[in-house]
Each structure stands twice: as C-alpha cells, then as structure tokens.
C-alpha cells in the first residue's frame, strides 16, 4: 500500500511524501516537475499513485515548462502543483513573474525544496527572495507534519486570492521522517471538469495595473493569514531571549532549548507563513524583547524584513542577532549545535555535551580516519568516457578546455573523473559556454573546446545553446553521455527513454536525430569501447569546423546491475536458461596475479592508482591488484586498461 493512499489517522512519512499527501488531499489534478535533490520524491511518489487517483503527473523537460503545465490546469479551473529544487525556480522564474501579474484560478502551488550548504547542488540560494520579488505568498514547513498542513493551506489561499503560492522546504524537512496526521482523501466526483472560461483571459500586461492589483492581493493574503495557527509563540511572558524561527530552524531551536533546559527563559516565534510577514504576531512578541535571535535557513531574510518592520513601526526591541552579525554563520545550513552555541553566547550560559578529554581524544582520532570521497560508481559509463577523453586530450596536445554540466558526470570535476572539468555551473551551461569559448578561435584561442551533457540535461537546456552555436558558427565537440537515465536524482524517466512518469509508454525523442536536424555532425558510439572512443574523440578534436556531437550510449551501471545481463551488450537469455528458469549471470572479473605487474615499471598500479574504479583494490602486502566482489559491477571495462592483460573476465555463464 503506497503511503500516500493510507487511510489511517497517522503515518510515518518523509517530508516530501507529506507534501505529496497534502497535494492529494487538496484534490490537485495536475502535477509537474523536473528531478532535483531534495525535491524529486514529491513528483516521484505522486506519479506512482496518479493513475489510481485520476491525476496527471509528469516529469517535464525543465522547471519553466513544469510551471506552465501546472498553470494551465489552474487556468482551466483545476488545482495544479509544480515541484523543483532551488535552482529550478531560476528556470521557472520568467514565467512565474508573469504569472503573478496574470493571476491564477484553480489553486496553484509551487513547491521549492532547497539544499542549504549545497550538499548535493552547485549552489545554495534562498527562495524567499523570489517571493518578495514576485509579491507571492510563501510558506515554510518545519516538520513533515507541518508540510502536509501547509500544502493544504497553500492551495486554499491560492484560490482565495487568485495567485500561485510558494511552499519552501529544505533538505532537513523534505528528507526527514516524522509522524504525520492524515486527512481524508478526495472523492473523484468532487473535482471540477476542466474548462477554459474565455471571458477570463490571463495576461501579465498591462504591467502597472496588474502590479497594483498584485499588491492588493498580497495585502489580502496578509489579512487572511492573520491569526493563522501556522504562526505561533511558545515560551514565557517575559523571555530573556526571543528566537524568531522559520521553517526547519524552528526544530533546531526547540531541540537546543530542550538540551539547555531554557524553556523558561527563551520564547520562540514560529513562522510557518513567512511571506507576507505576519507583522501582528511579530510586533506583539518583539516589542519588549530584550534580545532577538533570528534562526532561518540560507539568508537573513526574515531578519532584514523584521528590522525594516520595526523601524517602520517605531519598535525598539533589544539587540538583533542572527546571520547578519555573526551570531550564526552568514552562509550554509544551520543545525542544533549552531543554535546551542548562539543561545549560550547570548545568555552567557555554558554547555558541554561531553567531557573535554573525550573531545581531545576524538580530535586525535579524526586524523586517522580516511575521508570518503564521492565518486562515480563501479561500472559507470561516465568513467569510461572520462578515461577516453583524458587520453584523447593528452594525445591532441593542445590543452583542450572541458566545459561541464549537471548530472552524475558532474563528478568529473574531481579525481573520480580525472579532474577533467574546467567549468561547472547550471543546466545547459556546458554547451552555452562552449559556443562562446569556441568563437574565441577567431580571436586567437588555440585550445580546442569540449563540452559534455547528459541525456536528461540535453532535453532540459542544451537546445538553445546548440542552435546558437550552429547559427553563430562555433566549432566545438559535444559529448552526450547517454546512460538512459536521470541517474543522479534517482532514475526518473525522460524523453529519450520511451516511458513517462506514470509508467506508460511514451514516444522517444532521439537525441542524435535532434542534433542532425539542427545540422550538426553526429556520430554515435559505445563508451565501453576504449580504443574506438579515444580515436573518435581525437578525430573530432582535430576537425576545426562546426559542432561535432558524439553520442556515447551505454546504460547506467546501477541500472545494468539491476536488470542483469540482457540489458548489457544485448545478449539474450539462452533457450536452455529460459526453459529451466535459471538466470544468466555476468561472469566475475578477476586479477591474474601471475601476470599482474603491480607497482613495477610498466604498470605502476595503473588500474588502482590512475584509473581508480572503486571495484579494484590494491593489496600493499602482496603487491597485487584485486577485485572487490562486493563493489565490482562486472562491466568488464578494466580488462582493456591493464597493460599486462592481467584483468580477466570469463565468458558469461549460467548462474
């Protein structure tokens, strides 16, 4: 039973599942998004139940399109939702800031799940700045239970004022699990039939008039949210310190207070509806506060707004503290320890979680512990591509520039990808920069230009850059790393795979065909063919005209391992195997220690020291390489690497 359909009073749900449950309870009909950590599970889980609930849930090619798909439902009187990670909002912003002016009809909610500290992102950024810029209401849940409640409220408010509303989550809410009270599931007959009422068009212009109207809507939202249980105060009547805590930071604050046993001294204003600012609640509890601490993720947004609010109302509470004055760090994710430290400093309280001797011993231990580097999986075709690219660039000898893009292959910036990437920014920035870098050839640049995109990234953002490169006569090499997956975010389907988010067959938009239609030179290859790929890349590097696309096609190693041998190399099941029910197993890879040269001249541990697949191990005692069976993916690529032919893989056999 899918947790989203559970008919019980309570369930242990992940924050994203709670949001999805809220979306379902609100009776939303259309949901769209683009995969991005920590938001992916929202659309992912909705897609699993969409068929049963009669919803349309899709993975769109990018966040702007996703936003437009959801808005279309809203214009036709249905409730819609678009989900994305923080950078996705940048892509959707052009539409969103026009949508705020045209208004919406059916409840429309934009869920943005942020990754403070950019633990699995290229950046961190604060969505609330967009809410202010766009004059849109924004909610911040603090827990999974909050998330469900807030999502429901957001849909209601959106319909009340005719504006999209933003729900802003962060990793520690989206991926936290907690008990969530569940509400009733909608009845299919309650959902209206969609129809576009042509007497109510949706135009963003005239900007001035619509902007004025927008300001009025936001003011109305403020009064509708007045007294909402989403904002609250908990603490003594005369606190020594008031903490204004928004979203996830509230949970850390509560934990810190519990650890320090200070609930008689510290009061907490919890903000769940952050924008427009609940000025009533804030003014009431701040006007006499001796000191104020602002606890919020990413930017000191509420801090700045409250300071302005106080100035406007003539309130002079005690000192303000937060990210702005260094009481909390200016950047990065907060946590319980930071809140504990801040509160202790402000109230001059001392706290030790453990004896100093323990801390000292642990500091010494830290030096012994090897770091765990994130890298490409064993069996990853990107490793093969990067290996071939490394060789080809060295042979070419002109110091080629490699412009990276977003996906698992972004790991090419590090040792796992031989430190090959020279730039890494946003979706599609690789080919975009390549078009610019390549034009410098006519201005004297002698370095060849290479860019890499994954299959999913191609559909998201590469097309305008490629058309631009063609039109403006740029010469560069583009490697399309087609592993038939949006792998980094959890294997969501995309237009190249032939299946949609809800598991139904879908037409395939073939990348090679699209590139040919643009007039680019296109070749297709298998990255697991080492010599062939090196040669192919080298040849393309030496061609100094036009855009050369090499589509390197090989299934993601993790998918290949799940599906078994038939998905790799196209070998089918033998008739005997079919009959007996036995499974064909890919043969194990092993090292012939007689042939292995190890650290000696002529090898010097090429496989473990340079190639670095995590499935290959080095035994310093015997001086031989080996294969870790628990990690090895059995892709067999390393057989081509060994200069002594010591890595062997038998023919596939019966398992």
């Amino acid at each position: 039973m899918n947790p989203l359909l559970v008919d019980a009073p309570r369930a242990l749900l992940m924050g994203n599942e709670a949001i999805a449950r809220g979306v379902i309870e609100a009776g939303a009909a259309v949901c769209a998004g683009y995969p991005g950590n920590p938001s992916s599970e929202i659309i992912g889980t909705l897609a699993q139940v969409a068929g049963e609930l009669g919803m349309h849930v899709e993975w769109s090619t990018n966040e702007k399109v996703a936003m437009e798909v959801a808005a279309a439902a809203s214009f036709a009187g249905l409730r819609g939702m678009a989900a994305m990670k923080q950078n996705g909002l940048n892509v959707a912003a052009d539409f969103l800031f026009n949508l705020s002016l045209s208004g919406s009809k059916g409840g429309l909610v934009v869920v943005v799940a942020e990754d403070p500290s950019g633990l699995s992102s290229t950046n961190e950024q604060d969505t609330r700045a967009f809410a202010k810029m766009g004059d849109l209401p924004l909610f911040e849940p603090a827990t999974p239970a909050d998330a469900r409640r807030i999502t429901l409220r957001a849909f209601e408010l959106s319909e009340e004022i005719g504006l999209p509303c933003i729900v802003r989550s962060v990793t520690r809410v989206s991926h936290a699990r907690g008990p969530v009270e569940l509400g009733p599931l909608p009845r299919p007959e309650d959902r209206p039939t969609p129809a576009f009422d042509r007497s109510r068009p949706f135009y963003s212009f005239p900007a001035l008039a619509n902007h004025r109207a927008l300001k009025r809507k936001l003011a109305r939202a403020r009064s509708l949210l007045e007294g909402s249980p989403l904002g609250s105060y908990q603490g003594p009547d005369r606190p020594e310190l008031v903490v204004v805590a928004a979203g996830a930071a509230w949970a850390y604050t509560r934990e810190a207070i519990a650890l320090l046993d200070l609930d008689r001294q510290v009061g907490v204003i919890k903000l769940g509806a952050t924008w427009p600012l609940p000025d009533g609640l804030l003014c009431r509890h701040l006007q006499d506060a001796p000191r104020v601490l602002f606890a919020e993720e990413v930017d000191p947004f509420v801090e700045a707004e409250v300071k302005a609010l106080c100035a406007q109302r003539g309130l002079r509470p005690g000192a303000f503290h937060g990210r702005d004055d260094g009481t909390l760090p200016a950047v990065g994710e907060l946590g319980v320890d930071l809140l504990v430290g801040a509160i202790c400093r402000l109230l001059d309280v001392s706290y030790r979680s453990r004896p100093e001797s323990y801390d000292q011993r642990v500091a010494a231990l830290e030096r012994l512990i090897p770091a765990r580097q994130v890298g490409l999986c064993a069996g990853c075709p990107h490793r093969a591509t990067y290996w071939a690219l490394k060789n080809a660039l060295a042979l070419d000898g002109r110091d080629g520039v490699v412009l990276g893009d977003i996906g698992c292959y972004s790991l090419g910036f590090g040792p796992s990808g031989y430190n090959l990437l020279d730039t890494l920014h946003a979706m599609g920035s690789g080919p975009g920069l390549a078009g610019g870098m390549a034009r410098l050839g006519s201005l004297g640049l002698t370095q060849p230009v290479v860019t890499l995109v994954g299959d999913s990234t191609f559909y998201h953002a590469a097309l305008p850059a490629l058309i631009n490169g063609r039109y403006n006569d740029a010469s560069f090499v583009m490697l399309v790393l087609d592993n038939s997956a949006t792998a980094m975010t959890g294997f969501q389907p995309h237009p190249g795979i032939g299946v949609d988010a809800m598991g139904r067959p879908a037409p395939v938009v073939e990348i090679a065909d699209v590139c040919r239609a643009l007039g680019l030179k296109v070749t297709v290859g298998d990255p697991f063919n080492m010599e062939g790929t090196i040669e192919a890349i080298l040849e393309l590097l030496e061609d100094d005209e036009g855009i050369k696309v090499l589509v390197l096609r090989r299934l993601c190693g993790l998918l290949a391992a799940k599906r078994g041998p038939p998905a790799r190399g196209g070998k089918g099941r033998s008739p005997a195997a079919r009959g007996s029910g036995a499974t064909k197993v890919t043969a194990a890879v092993r090292v012939d220690t007689e042939r292995c040269l190890g650290a000696a001249c002529g090898c010097n541990r090429l496989c473990t020291r340079v190639f670095r697949c995590p499935g290959l191990t080095w035994d310093a005692v015997t001086g031989k390489a080996g294969v870790d069976e628990a990690v090895c993916n059995r892709c067999g690529y390393c057989v081509q690497i060994c200069p002594a032919g010591a890595i062997v893989q038998a023919e596939d056999g019966d398992g």
Binding site: K390, L395, G397, C601, C603, N604, V610
Partner: protein, 353 residues
C-alpha cells in the same frame, strides 16, 4: 636525481629532444604518440623508470655503450665509433630496382631470416600516404614490402611492445633507435641490429600537412631525395614526378634531430648508407662479429656483391659524421645541460678542424 617519467617529460619531451625512436612507447602505458609526438597520458610517480633508462636523449655516453657492445678494448674512432671493416655493397636480387641505393639492407635481412638467425625482423614500410608504419616481418614477402626508405620519423621500436613470445628479433634501426637498443641490452629478444645512416628525419604531422597543401588530392606514390649536388625532394604522383627544393622541406625536420650526434648508427652490428660517388651502391660499416658473420653469409649465398669503398668516399663520410657531431654540440649549448657524457663531448671538441 630521480630518473622516471617525470624527468623524461622535463628533460626530453618538453625540450623537444625526442627522436620518436619508440623505445619508451614499447614498454609504458603512461606514454602515447599521435601525429609524431610522444605524449605523457598520465602521471607516473616512479622515481626510476625504464623509459628514462632506455631513452637515447636522457643520458648518452656513446663510448661506454660502444665498449659494452663491442668489447672493453674496442677501438673507437671519434668520427664514426667502432668499425672493423669498411666496404661497398649492393644486392644482386631483382628488388634492387626499388631500393633506395643498393638494396643491401633488404638482402641482409632476408639472409638473416632465411638462415634462422632471427625469427622476425622489425622493419618499416610506408602506408598509402607514404608515412612510416612498423612491420614485424616473418616472411620474404613481408620483407620485400618494406623496400625503400621513408624520410619521416616513425616510432618503429614501439612495435617491440607487442612481442610476447620468445624468439630473436632483428631490427633495422635509425641511429637513435640503435642507441636506445644498446641501452636496452637485448631486451625483447633483440639479437641483431642493422643500422641506417641518417642526417635527419621529417616531423610526421607537419610533413603530412605539407604534402596535403602541395599535392592536394593527388596520390603520392613515392618520395625520394636526389643525391648531391641537386638535393631535391622528389615526389612521384599519378601525374608524374615533381621536385621541391630541400630547403623548403628543412623547416619540417623534427626539432630533436638538431641534437643528434650519430650519422652512421654507431651502435649497430653493421651500418648501411649510400655512397656519394656511386648511386646504386651502399657503404657498409661492419662493427661486430655478428655483423661480419651475416655479411659473409650473404656474400657466400651470392645475394650481395662486395667491393672496396673508394678512399675519397670514406674520407668524406668520416668528415660528414664529425661535422654532424659538431653541429649538434653547437645546438645543444651548455655542456651541463646536455644529455651527452662530458668526457665524450671533450673528445669530440678536441678532435680538431
């Protein structure tokens, strides 16, 4: 001082001293070549490597190598190294018409293979663009496919890396390759070295580009250098022969050749070149017993005609060889920076005008 790949990179590759002999490529997965350039593919942190040890341009002591090859008491001429006999020779076989000069090398290789002195011969043949390609020949037919010279440097010794089985290999080697083989001391089963005289070799990619520019779509069938005094590059295409003044081609010589001190392949068993005054004949310098034995076999089998080399030709060769050493030493500049053994350098400089 460390003597590994990093040092090879610094002292040879980055200083444009590389001759493309191919020795390092034969034994190392960290090195590759493309378009006539040897390239470091990955970093190797070994502080002692065979690449450094075998490279003729990291450190070279021609006298020490000659004594190791020909005996501690071998007499060494400052101009041409150790020479036991000097002769003029030419092949009697029909392939002579296709040969560069006298076809002597082809005859010797055929003899060695036929008599079982070697199991394979590492030769160079030309591809359809007249660029060099190594060939491990095991039959007379394969030997004959390699008749004629290429003036372009090709990394012939790289092919030694592919030899897995035991067996004796004969190598037809340029002077730099013979130096590398001498440093390799019989590795990979190399049992016989037939040296070729060499003044310089052309750089592969620039020369290929030159041919494309000059001759466009025409098929280049043969490339020769006409003997003095004209000194022209003669290119034969389907439209006939065309000549290019050699001076135009000098810009396409491998930079590393400017530092070469060996005209006559001093570290081979025997060395073969042209005879200035006699087109159609080869000069042969016999250096080792094995070289002499092979020559004798060929003579007795009737595949080689032998005569005395005229004195003027011999003097001319000795002088040209010394002149090449002087030019290289001048190009190399400060002796501390040079790859050549200081004692040997002194001997050359003291040799007088």
């Amino acid at each position: 001082m460390d003597q590994g790949l990093r040092q090879l990179q610094e002292r040879v590759l980055e200083r444009d001293l590389c001759t493309l002999c191919g020795a390092c490529l034969s034994l190392c997965p960290y090195l590759g070549s493309h378009d006539g350039r040897v390239v470091r593919l990955h970093d190797c942190d070994l502080d002692q490597g065979r690449c450094f040890a075998y490279c003729p341009r990291t450190e070279l002591d021609p006298d020490a190598l000659a004594r190791a090859a020909f005996g501690p008491d071998a007499e060494l001429d400052v101009e041409v190294g150790h020479v036991e006999h000097v002769l003029m020779a030419r092949a009697t076989g029909p392939f002579r018409a296709r040969a560069q000069n006298g076809g002597t090398v082809t005859a010797l290789v055929t003899q060695a293979l036929g008599d079982g002195l070697i199991d394979a011969a590492l030769l160079t043949r030309r591809d359809e663009r007249q660029l060099p390609e190594p060939l491990l020949a095991r039959s007379e037919e394969e030997i004959l496919s390699c008749v004629g010279s290429s003036y372009v440097a090709g990394a012939a010794l790289e092919a030694l890396g592919a030899i897995d089985e035991t067996g004796r290999v004969g190598v037809v080697a340029l002077p730099c390759q013979a130096q590398a083989l001498a440093k390799m001391r019989g590795e990979r089963g190399v049992a016989l070295v037939i040296g070729l005289f060499c003044t310089w070799a052309l750089h592969r990619a620039p020369f290929a580009r030159f041919l494309r520019r000059r001759f466009g779509r025409r098929t280049v069938r043969r490339i020769d250098i006409s003997p003095p005094p004209e000194r022209l590059l003669v290119v034969a295409t389907e439209r006939g022969e065309e000549t290019v003044p050699l001076d135009e081609v000098r810009a396409l010589i491998r930079p590393g050749c400017a530092a070469c001190v060996d005209l006559t392949a001093e570290l081979a068993d025997l060395s073969v070149g042209s005879v200035e005054s006699q087109p159609g004949w080869n000069t042969v310098l016999i250096r080792s017993e094995a070289g002499w034995a092979l020559l004798e076999r060929a003579r007795r089998a009737g595949s080689l005609e032998l005569r005395e080399l005229p004195q003027p030709d011999m003097e001319h060769l000795w002088a040209a060889s010394l002149e090449k050493k002087r030019r290289a030493l001048a190009a190399l500049g400060a002796p501390e920076e040079s790859y050549l053994a200081p004692a040997w350098v002194r001997r050359v400089l003291e040799a007088g005008p």
